[in-house]
């Protein structure tokens, strides 16, 4: 990573309505949680009107690495994990990929 001299990095999540999921909006720089929530408001909430904001220090997020992918995601050639063997009753709407 390049040297980032502009304070700590934070991730911002916005919620559009009460009860809906928080969605990642982007990242920003801030020195502490209060400044992070203020900057999130200024950078990510100036046009839309979110219902709520989350800010999380980027280094608190644990992520998979590309090296994890074969064992994490690509071993799932397992048809039995997909609910494809049931007859769906008429009139029930389903959305299965």
């Amino acid at each position: 990573m390049s040297n980032d001299t502009q304070l700590d990095l934070w991730e911002v999540f916005t919620q559009r309505k009460s009860g809906t999921p928080f969605i990642h909006a982007g990242s920003l720089h801030a020195s502490d949680n209060e400044m992070a929530i203020q900057n999130a408001r200024d950078v990510y909430a100036r046009r839309d009107k979110p219902y709520a904001l989350w800010v999380v220090p980027s280094n608190s997020i644990t992520s998979t690495t590309p090296e994890d992918n074969p064992s994490f995601f690509e071993s799932s050639e397992k048809a039995y994990r997909h609910p494809k063997f049931y007859k769906i009753p008429k009139g029930v709407s389903v959305d299965i990929d």
């Binding site: 502009q6 920003l28 400044m35 203020q38 900057n39 408001r41 200024d42 950078v43 100036r46």
Partner: protein, 251 residues
Amino acid sequence: MLISTNELFNYCLMLADDRLILSHRLSQQCGHGPYLEEDIALTNIALDLLGQANEIYTYAGTLENKSADELAYLRTDTQFKNVIISELENDDFAWIIARQFFFDISAYHLYTELLKSKDETLAAIAEKSLKEVTYHLRHSKKWFHILADGTDESRNKLTDAIDDLWSYTFELFETNPTIDSLVKQGIAADLKIVKEKWLKDINENFAILNLTVPENTWMHSGGRVGKHSEHLGRILTEMQYLQRSFPNAAW
């Protein structure tokens, strides 16, 4: 009692001019913030202040049959009634934050008083603006504390800024016959109350940060009657250039 239209018009100009000129000063920081997020924050605040000025000019214009643009762009420096602190040239970031902090506290208490105004339009503008100003104050207070509690350098820059700005602060609470008359009629915000609350907030914050409240009580004055520093003329030259060169230009 019949309210003097002229008094109300002039009172609106005092409020709106403070905001227009401070907004212009902040807008000059666009692209010069210490980092991107703060650049956007200060520019947002400049836009809020411009919006407030626009609403107050528009209301004033209905009293004297003038447009908001005429009031903003076609008056000369001696006709502007803003306090001098709003027109001072930007110094460093600590100075800009100190000015915002001083102004935001006064604006917060001014709008709180103005909510009670018998003038429904002013009360409505105050209600809307108070939401914005509550955020402005949260922003400038946070930075004021960061700089005071930061490094020796940041604290020195902040205390220099406080010393430099202090003698311009009480003009925010200066009254005149127009304001006195409108306060009596329940129209204008009572600046005695605003000043008391402002001093209380300043004393509390300075005590927490172990900062000394300056002792000097000599204060600059004159902005409300059009006696400005040399800076306002230059601001207007730049700000009014387009309307002066191309009258009624629009897009």
